[in-house]
């Protein structure tokens, strides 16, 4: 699921980063930053260097974001999809939200076993003349090796905590972490091999065509142009040679009760 409402997204983001929200209207958000967020968002490294060197208490800044870009407010900073500030926040999230180890929040009064799942959100990029991307969210049960697609949709329905709940204990994985990872990747690669890649054929054809045009232009006896020709030819390869890249957006281990674990597979 993509971001449905930018304002709510930002609110959750600053809350999750332990910032106080000073003002929250439908189109305006004022935030008291923490030291860490100030360092990251406000771009004043010298200030923080100085503060740390002298062992002082830093004074983190405030930020006001206007989620309606047409709002005329002198103090606020308009934020919209594509704006540098939002890109900066997305980049921070890339690092901040990368690795998890989470436990299902349950209230139990007897010993309860939790099943470990490795969950990976994976981006597959098809890069040629153009670029296309797809996201896969795959989970593998580290006890029995069962795998499911779009696991994120299921995880969204459950409450998670970074600490293991009382009376719960972790089952030890039978499939090691790295093997679990490999199984997911192999699944994706197998799928890729079974797909027709018209885009790649098209891109390859385009590459050949561009090279032909280049040849036509360098039909000259003078040897001085060989270096230039080579450079251009390489640039064409770099631009059009088809490539598939698999990268992990984020992921980690989710410990869940056996019944949740079973439901995952049944859904």
């Amino acid at each position: 699921m993509a971001i449905a409402n930018l304002h709510d997204f930002l609110f959750t983001f600053f809350k999750a980063n332990h910032c106080d929200i000073l003002e929250n209207r439908g189109d305006k958000l004022s935030i008291q930053l923490t030291d860490k967020m100030d360092e990251y968002l406000l771009n004043r490294p010298f200030y923080w260097q100085y503060v740390k060197k002298l062992g002082l208490q830093g004074e983190p800044g405030k930020i006001t974001l206007l989620t309606n870009p047409l709002l005329d407010d002198e103090e606020g900073e308009p934020i919209h999809f594509g704006s540098p500030r939002l890109q900066q926040i997305f980049r921070l999230l890339d690092e901040e939200g990368k690795f998890v180890r989470l436990y299902q929040m349950v209230q139990v009064d007897q010993q309860t076993a939790l099943v470990p799942w490795l969950v990976l959100n994976i981006k597959v990029s098809f890069i040629g003349k153009q670029k296309k991307e797809a996201i896969k969210s795959i989970g593998i049960n580290m006890i029995n090796g069962g795998m499911i697609n779009n696991i994120i949709d299921q995880l969204e329905k459950i409450q998670w905590d970074t600490k293991i709940p009382d009376f719960c204990y972790n089952l030890s994985p039978l499939i090691r972490l790295k093997s679990s990872y490999q199984r997911i990747i192999q699944l994706i690669e197998k799928e890729l091999q079974e797909t027709e890649h018209d885009w790649a054929i098209e891109s390859w054809r385009h590459m050949e065509e561009e090279k032909k045009l280049l040849d036509y232009f360098y039909q000259t006896d003078k040897k001085d142009y060989t270096a230039l020709y080579k450079k251009e030819s390489e640039a064409i390869e770099a631009l059009y040679r088809p490539q598939i890249a698999i990268s992990i957006i984020n992921g980690g281990i989710f410990h869940m009760t056996q019944s949740t674990s079973l439901n995952q597979l049944l859904d």
Partner: protein, 555 residues
Amino acid sequence: MQIDLKRDVDFIEKLDQKVKDDGSFSSWELFHLSYQASVNNLTTDFKGLRSPTLLPHVTFLTHQLECAEQVLDDMNGRAILADEVGLGKTIEAGLILKEYMLRGLVKKALILVPASLVNQWAMELTQKFYIPVTTSRKRPVWDQDNIMITSIDTAKRQQHKDIILEQNYDFVLVDEAHKLKNHQTKNYQFIRALQKKYCLLLTATPIQNKLSDIFNLVSILKPGYLGDYQTFTEKFGKNHKTLEHDAHLKQLIQKVMVRNRREDTGIDWTKRNVETVWIDFTAEEREAYNNLKEITEQSSHFAAITYLRELCSSREACYVSIKKNLLQENKENKEDYAAFLKCIEKLPNHSKALKVVELIQSMNDKCIIFTEYRATQVYLQWILQQNGITSVPFRGGFKRGKKDWMRQLFQEKAQVLIATEAGGEGINLQFCNNMINYDLPWNPMRLEQRIGRIHRYGQTEDVNIYNFAIKDTIEDHILRLLYEKIQLFQRVVGNLDAILSDLQLTNIETEVEKIFQESKTDGEIKIKIDNLSAVISNAQDYYEQEEQHGNRESS
């Protein structure tokens, strides 16, 4: 064919290490936000734009969307946008920039536009595209991630230049890029030296003169793409006609250039009504005109013709300029001129100015008046005010802020904007659809620019253009023999400058002046101007045929 596969090697190692070290992990919220952001930034389709759905308040035209898609999908963000004037190149550029920003591919951009257009660009990008921009004011900051709008002249100043050249830009845009056609200029070398990933060059006239123009533009985008300069010129010479005849070259250029013409856009352009308003001099004015003509015929000074033109515009314009010249030099027929000045001092209001008042009172709508002369501008403002008509002046020499202010005053308060020639460039006045050419420039290009101010994309009304000319004067010749013959008012704005430079007629004004100066009789003037317009008109026909030929070939 072979597809390379690139795997992620980092993630699992790091995760494994973290588990072993019992390190710190993210919360569910941050994990989930990060996933959402990734979905949001995903390019789910090989083709297609994402910004139109995010910008529902803007209606994009089909050719603008297609242009943006073509640049993004086929040209990898390095292109010449060469639509004809008024088709919305700014919109196309804005769309492309926004798409790249949405995909997270552009964070730092440099937008180089004429100084007079800096504010207009800033307004369009913020209001239409929600792109936060910075304009270079007193102390521009170059070394941050931002979308900076400035002029080439500011950017290449010594105190800025070095730091700008150190920056790594994701996106560089140059408006009015035809000014870069000469690779020996400082501007050209500056643009070439910028470190840039994506690059857009905007111009309505990609080939102004010779094929090497396009070679130089393309070399900014893809150095070496058309080979080297020497080989290129050897192969294609300097004649521009070859472009249509060399399929290979054409194909290459089509891969880096988008050019839409009005007729291809499929949009209903509002109509352009052109009316010539003929005016008779009063007996007194006629006498003064003939009098001046006699004096000027005695000397071949080039200013002599100017005096006649000025008298057709206003007594004031003529007076100021004769007076200035008389003071400066020791002139022949000084006494004659002095006597003439005495005589025109007594003239009542100019017939043409009275006609303007009459016309504006009858139209009861906003109107732009263009004149060639400052003195006429002042005089017109005065006479309009005498008749209870509000007006604001506009000159090229105004500072940026004053220009914006005048434009706004015109839009909100005044009925009339009186502009001198230099004001013709660089502001868009689509909210007005009446234009009076109070006097005609002798360079058809400038007339095209005037019309382009109001008859452009965004104009919703039919455009009325009134050309004022006084019968049996120098104006009469120009209008009948030059403008009507080349059908400037009927033809769509576009390739005239290319045609003129093709004919080596870049300075048509001097050409016409020469004709007036060197001809002994009115008959001779007529024949010569007639010949001149015939040449232009033929070239126009030829050009249009070529373009049709070219279009067929490309489709």
